[in-house]
Symmetry: C2
Subunit: 325 residues, 2 copies
């Protein structure tokens, strides 16, 4: 298969510049290990600094070299979860949605690299100051939680310019090789993909969720807080989550205060529904979902993405004529 070598692949000692987004609901140890075995780097999700999940999914990854992603506002409430994660000697710890600076020292002391995911240019500068080794520029095009302020297209080159020579990884709306090629030309050293991997064979998602994401289009998605409110997960309001607009979304989106007031009863009803009921349950999905067309193994996703990216770059060069100086 083809490959693309960047600052990111060198720094992480991986073959392909593709990282698995550490999605709590999908990116368990099995999927993370599969992405790593395919030549990318798998990151397991840790939920809300959930120590049991961290131990379980690292164990599930076996001997595979996988990193971990942590949600900062949750880690702030349970900082000991970082020690549990570091005990598994992850090559990288990715921190998102808060201030990474209190944890940078411990991560570096443990010999791990610090990846900071940011949603704006000002956050990127703060992450660089905090000692990030790699910065993920995540646009609101992303599935699941992200910011509202910036789109991937303009954010990636701006962050790349601002934090050079720190390698930048593009996230949000990227689900195939064209997106990887675009990220590379925008100045990134690789991509973080979530939505595409939710439908991977090795994903923790159930079949109903995978079927829904394959059928969905980007026009069907929107950022919302209603699933955080109903589940009682105290996400900061500035980080809504992008989902497929289903019946539950349509009932409550725009009525957040009312839902907050009714959380007790509605929350109980919500958690009583089947995890396969995609008309009610959150289907976290990014705007790249039009490009997700079937269940494939993580290995096939990585290979297809890289092959397509190289083809897209070569096609671009074939269309180009260089100036003669």
């Amino acid at each position: 298969m083809s490959n693309i070598s960047t600052t990111l692949t060198e720094m992480l000692e991986i073959e392909h510049p593709i990282l698995l987004a550490p999605m709590g609901s999908a990116a368990g140890g099995r999927l993370a290990a599969a992405v790593t075995h395919a030549g990318g780097l798998g990151l397991i999700g840790s939920g809300y600094a959930n120590v049991d999940a961290i131990k379980r999914e690292f164990a599930e990854a076996g001997n595979a070299r996988v990193g971990i992603g942590m949600i900062l506002w949750a880690l702030d409430k349970n900082p000991g979860a970082l020690d549990v994660a570091l005990a598994s000697h992850p090559p990288v710890v990715m921190l998102s949605f808060g201030d990474p600076s209190p944890y940078a020292g411990a991560i570096h002391d443990a010999g791990s690299l610090l990846i900071c995911q940011v949603q704006s240019l000002s956050q990127a500068r703060q992450a660089a100051d905090a000692g990030a080794d790699i910065i993920i520029a995540q646009g609101r095009d992303a599935g699941g939680h992200s910011g509202t302020m910036r789109g991937t297209m303009g954010l990636v080159p701006a962050v790349s310019d601002a934090v050079a020579p720190i390698p930048v990884v593009a996230a949000g709306g990227i689900a195939d090789g064209r997106g990887l090629a675009a990220a590379i030309t925008l100045g990134a050293s690789g991509v973080l993909m979530g939505t595409r991997f939710t439908a991977a064979t090795e994903s923790l998602w159930n079949d109903a969720l995978k079927t829904r994401v394959i059928a969905a289009g980007g026009d069907d998605t929107e950022q919302t807080r209603v699933f955080d409110i109903v589940r009682g997960t105290p996400w900061p309001e500035i980080y809504p989550g992008r989902v497929v607009k289903n019946d539950f979304f349509k009932e409550w989106h725009g009525r957040e205060e009312e839902l907050t007031a009714a959380q007790d009863t509605v929350g109980e009803r919500y958690s009583g529904t089947s995890p396969e009921d995609v008309s009610i349950r959150a289907v976290w999905t990014g705007e790249g979902v039009d490009l997700v067309r079937g269940v494939m193994s993580a290995a096939d996703i990585v290979e297809q993405t890289v092959d397509q990216a190289v083809e897209a770059l070569e096609q671009g060069v074939r269309q180009s004529q260089r100036k003669t100086p």
Copy 2:
């Protein structure tokens, strides 16, 4: 200088796959002519189907081959403006923000190509059905008016797949050659740039606006309806405009109903302010604005963009290794 040949450059018989966004406030005949002379294609803005502006700016363009952009909901109120535009034999007519189908026949009969700008995948399919020769996929990353539903990164490949072989042009968050290269790898045949050209020497913008856009960053922008409300321009609510967040924005954004009720008095005060007062007046700006760093001629912008795009594509290929079959 370098160049990139695509379906778009062939269809439009231009040298470079760069179109000027027909921004009412900036894209007069002078700027449109300059983009055309530089090897791209200039499109003049027609405001709200303003017949005087159409005649004046086509005259201002002199003998340069320039197209025109029209806002569909405004054209619906004054359909005769299309005949005025077609009398100047534009190579292309670009229609945005409404249903293009009533006008496709007249445009084709006049020998012009029909460009439809869309903000979602479903709109792209409708534009293809309406007979669009070229489709612009505009993400909410764009400056000025756009949709809210889709970001550029995921929209462009999805539209490209859906409407092939109709050429697709990417718009929103693109302000330099890295964005052009990314558009090409995403499957587009070129780009439509607005924000970068607002700061061009030949732009209609005054110096205060140009200075503001050069200083602004993408983090400083947001989509809002307040400037449409205060100016009494009846934009459909689904098409807000992205601006630099200034004092007027901060006073009224989120208080749209109140502003609507007070439009008489606040509108009079607004229009009484200096067009150079960037703390009050709308500074229409896209998220690519971090990449706009000075006033340059349109010719230099086009040349620099293409050179940088070719360099970005070649750099991507240098990092790639093709699979050996």
